[in-house]
């Protein structure tokens, strides 16, 4: 009887440790994507969208419109890779400038940028990894 209790106790601890380890691995992955995403954002996006994601007046759309980013989450990778020429409504305003493409950017970098912008400037959407990017990029309309 006593052995059983001890056994269960250790089993419970083992389970807890495994679950926690899983969580930290996921968190670690998120942190890696987010950090790389920030560096890539500073290099490729910040000029126009600004370090605080507020864009530039009515010339460059802000990334602070959390609804827009949520509704278009599956298109963000395509927009980063192929640019954008359409007129879009963001934050209740119309934007019609052209966003340049980044054709050479690898999927993993695109995923990092999407993770960064969808978890900054008031957004909180969690990890977007390279496999998300891979499947979304297959569906681009370009």
């Amino acid at each position: 009887m006593r052995n059983k209790v001890v056994c269960l106790f250790f089993l419970a601890i083992a389970l807890l440790v495994t679950v926690q380890a899983c969580q930290t691995e996921e968190q670690l992955k998120y942190a890696q994507y987010y950090t790389n995403g920030k560096a890539l954002y500073d290099q490729h996006c910040q000029n126009c969208h600004n370090s605080d994601g507020k864009g530039l007046a009515n010339l460059v759309p802000p990334l602070t419109d959390t609804t827009y980013l949520k509704n278009h989450k599956n298109e963000l990778a395509c927009i980063i890779k192929h640019g954008l020429k359409d007129t879009i409504m963001v934050d209740g305003r119309q934007f019609s400038g052209e966003m340049p493409a980044n054709h050479q950017m690898p999927d993993i970098d695109i995923a990092a940028i999407v993770t960064y912008i969808t978890n900054s400037f008031g957004n909180k959407q969690g990890l977007y990894d390279v496999s998300n990017a891979g499947s979304d990029l297959k569906g681009c309309e370009h």
Binding site: N47, L56, A57, N58
Partner: protein, 212 residues
């Protein structure tokens, strides 16, 4: 004790000195000494580099010339509306200068497009409006390639050029050049650097003070 007194006294003297001298901005560019005869005596005067006469078309399709800048200090730069690289940062910073000196009729801003093919007055107007700029305190102007590029390099010392390899098709430097009421160059600031633009705004106050 005596040493302390001497130090204190000289500090006071120094403070008094710097208080009397008004801060002045340097005069940039070429200069040459010329000898003149004043009242029968020969004196040496210095001729500084100045911005020559120019004439462009602005966002309202009106002619803008050097005469519109008489009696004003101004900040000038070179950009193009479809520029994906440094222009958004430059004009985010220039917008701060615009907001700070808005309505001050001694101050003007002058942005030249280097994309003489695409940036028509209508395009410049659309750009200005979207940036939140109205009126003509901030002029967005278009000229021939030759006139704008020559003015940039010879008069304002800013390098600009067409380059098919560069993002957007042009290479250019992001300088903000400060010009005084006598059309002399008084400062050059990196328009992509927020700290230097802060300095520019301080220097503009100093320059305006020179004419008081």
């Amino acid at each position: 004790m005596r040493l302390n007194f001497i130090i204190a006294a000289s500090l006071l003297a120094l403070a008094a000195c710097s208080g009397e001298n008004k801060q002045k901005l340097p005069i940039l560019g070429q200069r040459e000494p010329v000898e003149k005869t004043v009242n029968g005596e020969t004196v040496v005067d210095t001729i500084y580099q100045t911005v020559p006469a120019f004439s462009f078309i602005n966002q309202d399709s009106a002619v803008v010339s050097d005469k519109d800048f008489n009696g004003k200090i101004y900040v000038t730069d070179f950009f193009f509306t479809s520029c994906p690289s440094i222009c958004p940062v430059m004009h985010r910073n220039m917008l701060k200068v615009y907001e700070k000196f808005k309505g001050n009729d001694e101050v003007k801003l002058l942005s030249h497009t280097i994309d003489f093919k695409y940036d028509t007055p209508a395009k410049l107007k659309e750009y200005a409006t979207k940036l939140g700029v109205s009126g003509n305190q901030w002029e967005f102007v278009r000229g021939t390639k030759d006139s704008v590029y020559t003015l940039a390099e010879k008069s304002y010392m800013v390098a600009v050029n067409e380059d098919k390899q560069a993002p957007g098709g042009f290479v250019h430097q992001g300088w903000f050049i400060l010009v005084d009421k006598d059309k002399r160059l008084r400062g050059a600031y990196d328009g992509t650097n927020a700290e230097q633009v802060e300095q520019l705004m301080k220097d503009m106050e100093v320059l305006l003070e020179e004419y008081r």
